[in-house]
Symmetry: C2
């Protein structure tokens, strides 16, 4: 997602992740983040509403990317194939942010509040994918189930990506996780 | 779950759901709930830590019931079959609480805070089922994926149960939802 990232944003993100890692998320202030980045607090607030937003600013962009990928699948694609296209788009976009994603994961894992926020973002993402499936003509319950299963696939792959030593690339892990889902649900 | 419910608890739950429906969750106090139930605040706090707990006290019992059902499946059962046994146990237990479940759902749907709490409880439930699968010997990623898919099945069935006019019984809806999952993931 490098091309979405103006320089100030990237410096602030890097400074925030460094401070969250060193001092803890709770003990870090916006003033400290701005100072570490060599920018003003005013510049910080041009990019982010608050310090939590440094960790979650990408969610909306990621969601739009995934919904677009889903919608652009041919009408003949099965619901799970359309969701797989959305997951692949996310995997490809996030792969370029590997180091950021790992550091961000460590920060989120250490805070109950942030883990809850991440859960809520993933639930919104599942709801957005289900909506997009319904707009393609998938019925209500099937759309919800396919989107939720897709997000489960994504979570498992993402968790491996940010925790394993020398992991495969995220799109490969997503494909493996999807195959795993097909395997556990096969009769 | 009637047999887990001492009388005071049932009266307080009924009074709380009535007040949450009439005045809104935010505008209801523990004093009002106790008064409506004809009990003291002291009695309220013997059962519940706070008013939110009236809506979530059953989560732990439900989780224990589901984990036990999963663990008691024969070792030969596939991971998804073991999760299906857990979902069936939950469906059977909840079916006797249909009216409470509908009223509770309406209250939770009206509050962002409560919807978030419900998401977090479901995530804990998925984690507990995944743990139980791992204790049966299922590998890490497979266990997580199966448990998450199972919770997606449960959510879709539960949503139908509490929102449809004249729904089927919850265990039937859970079975339908599980078949639906098998359908969407089949090649």
């Amino acid at each position: 997602m490098g091309r979405w990232k103006p320089d100030g944003l990237g410096r602030l993100e890097d400074a925030a992740l460094a401070l969250f890692g060193e001092r803890g998320y709770e003990n870090t202030t916006v003033a400290q983040i701005a100072a570490r980045a060599g920018l003003t607090e005013r510049t910080f607030f041009r990019y982010f509403a608050d310090k939590r937003e440094v960790l979650f600013w990408g969610s909306r962009t990621l969601q739009e990317l995934m919904v677009n990928a889903l919608i652009n699948e041919p009408q003949s694609a099965a619901p799970l194939e359309a969701v797989a296209a959305a997951l692949d788009a996310a995997g490809t976009a996030l792969q370029g942010r590997f180091e950021i994603a790992r550091r961000r994961h460590t920060v989120i894992a250490a805070s109950a509040e942030l883990r809850e926020r991440e859960l809520i973002k993933l639930a919104s993402l599942a709801a957005a994918l289900a909506d997009a499936l319904r707009r393609r003509g998938t019925s209500g319950a099937t759309a919800t189930l396919t989107a939720e299963a897709g997000i489960a696939v994504f979570r498992v792959a993402f968790e491996r990506w940010v925790t394993e030593t020398a992991p495969k690339e995220l799109p490969s892990l997503i494909r493996e996780s999807l195959e795993e889902l097909r395997g556990v649900t096969a009769r």
